[in-house]
């Protein structure tokens, strides 16, 4: 090799090394002190060994819009981009580097690097993962009215929605407009203590409204995974967060034109489910933990709950049934009696739509006393929120299996995929109570005059309640063939698997429309 040539190669090597070094030793030490991993450590955890291919390693901040580039150098312009494999399947990544200008989003990083990943991921129909640890827009470059030319990222995210899975892993701050990245993503795990998201960061909030609050207090996981529902799952550290991203992706196809990966299991699809009688009380008023039912029914160790700490009266998440990925929607009697309210309807609707978009069959485990009623919930718009779940369940054309375990009351029965919502299979346990309302409520409406006219209203009411109660049993619904079968709870696993497999070639034709108008 000529001297000239090797000098060129060594320049390339040194440029590469320079940028692989991120923001330098000091900044890296600081990142570790904060309990965070560096962007490159995170990428190593995200992808299968040696599969990461980087795009734009040699990028750096450029003198744009009158600003001077940072004299210390800005390796990769503060964002590492490329693709790699997760369990053998291609995934694209946009990972912010907090050691370079606080991971701020600069013109090169955003308009060229991140934009290229969005474009290619969509072109090849592969999932995108954002690893977020960023101070937000780089104000040095963005302040002023050239702001007019920004904002493409959210537009792109909306175009990609329901086409490729989008994951926003919260590993640090994510404030200002960039908070809409998780706002639009399909899955948002948040690291405890170190991550936060808010429409305005603490300094902006102070300037705009005078409120004195830290980023963490305003938008940490304790807010978003417990109160707002913007975050999905709280995790202890970066490692746990990235492991969870990999797990999430394992249930989804690469795009809406693929099927979710099948994972063979040695957990027999034909086995009886033992012990359900010890979990679910026959007294319909008594509570129990429905997650124990889920764990007993689906493939061993396959349960992956989403939003476990928010709107806990409904439980949603992925599991596998005989190797098939499924989305589970289950009422949780242990929380608020399993009653549906605004937040639980929102949570379920969002999850159902994600499953439907990505061809993941749905399994509804029903034990619902109904929607909460009263003046308080009308003020918060329970009709509008409940309608989202009604909409999502109707809209879903993936295979749907409904198991009525105990209560199936009122609109609760509808949104949990009752007969009218085109389940591919709907079965009930012998404990099932299907009715528009409970006998105690119904008796006052149906027999009001009779009770008032009675010499002994209390006794008459009691007798009439029993009359109505005798009409609430699954054999009446099965007698009309409104449900497909009444099953022994022990049969639940094999019935669900058969239902999913029976519907594998499902095709549903709907009238042409631009799109429906889901209540929001």
């Amino acid at each position: 090799m000529s001297e000239d040539y090797s000098a060129k190669i060594s320049e390339l090597k040194s440029r590469r090394e320079q940028n692989l070094g991120m923001g330098g030793k000091e900044k890296i030490a600081k990142q570790h002190e904060r309990g965070k991993l560096t962007v490159r450590e995170r990428i190593d955890l995200l992808f299968d060994k040696d599969t990461f291919v980087e795009f734009g390693l040699l990028a750096s901040q450029q003198a744009v819009r009158g600003g001077e580039p940072d004299t210390d150098g800005t390796p990769a312009d503060g964002v590492v981009t490329g693709h790699g494999e997760v369990e053998g399947r291609e995934v694209w990544v946009i990972a912010y580097d907090f050691t370079v200008m606080a991971g701020s989003m600069g013109a090169v990083g955003e308009q060229f690097k991140a934009a290229r990943v969005r474009e290619l991921a969509l072109r090849y129909r592969r999932p995108i993962v954002w690893l977020l640890d960023s101070a937000g827009a780089r104000i040095q470059e963005a302040a002023g009215s050239t702001f007019a030319g920004t904002g493409y990222l959210f537009y792109d995210q909306v175009v990609m929605s329901g086409v490729i899975p989008q994951v926003a892993a919260m590993l640090g701050p994510c404030s200002a407009g960039t908070a809409y990245i998780p706002g639009l993503a399909d899955f948002v795990p948040m690291v405890k203590e170190t991550s936060s998201m808010s429409l305005g960061g603490a300094r902006l909030v102070k300037a705009a409204t005078g409120e004195d609050v830290t980023d963490h207090d305003m938008g940490g996981s304790q807010v978003h995974c417990y109160e707002s529902g913007v975050g999905d799952n709280e995790v202890e550290d970066d490692r746990g967060c990235i492991a969870m991203v990999r797990r999430f992706l394992s249930y989804l196809p690469s795009s809406n034109t693929d099927e979710p990966p099948f994972r063979a299991t040695d957990d027999s699809g034909d086995r009886d489910v033992d012990g359900l009688e010890k979990i679910v009380p026959t007294n319909p008023r008594a509570a129990y933990d429905v997650k124990r039912v889920i764990k007993a029914v689906f493939d061993r160790d396959s349960w992956f709950e989403i939003k476990p700490a928010w709107a806990k009266n409904i439980v949603v998440g992925f599991a596998r049934a005989g190797g098939h990925a499924v989305g589970v929607v289950a009422n949780q009697p242990m929380q608020k009696g399993g009653i549906l309210d605004s937040d639980s309807a929102d949570k379920a609707a969002r999850f159902i739509r994600m499953c439907d978009a990505f061809n993941v069959p749905l399994v509804y485990l029903m034990d619902v006393p109904g929607f909460i009623v009263g003046s308080q919930v009308e003020k918060e718009g329970i009709i509008r929120h409940g309608a989202k779940m009604l909409y999502a369940t109707s809209e879903a054309t993936v295979p749907k299996v409904t198991v009525i375990m105990r209560k199936a009351y009122g609109a609760g029965y509808y949104v949990m995929c009752g007969k009218g919502y085109q389940p591919d299979l709907i079965v009930a346990w012998p404990l099932a109570e299907i009715s528009v309302m409970g006998p105690e409520g119904a008796v006052n409406i149906i027999f009001n005059k009779q009770i008032e006219a009675s010499a002994n209203p209390k006794e008459t009411r009691g007798q009439l309640i029993e009359t109505i109660r005798s009409q609430i049993n699954p054999y009446l619904a099965a007698g009309w063939a409104m449900i497909d079968d009444v099953i022994d709870p022990a049969e639940t696993r094999r019935v669900i698997i058969r239902g999913i497999e029976q519907a594998r070639n499902k095709k549903v034709e709907r009238p042409w429309r631009k799109h429906g108008n889901i209540p929001v």
Partner: protein, 70 residues
Amino acid sequence: MTEVKAELVGSVWKITSKPGDEVAEDDVLMILESMKMEISVTAPRAGKVREIRVKETDVVKEGQVLVVLE
């Protein structure tokens, strides 16, 4: 001092604790009835029951204080 509030509207069906009781986290303090379900009101932390602000059959609103722990 911790106030334990009703998480939804309902009536007080059964009170299972009394002032002076030492309770552990997640112990049942009372049971509400709402929408055909028994809904347990549990201690958010360990402590001593200082006050019970409702009686059985009372109708309670969402957010109403039921029990005060010290």
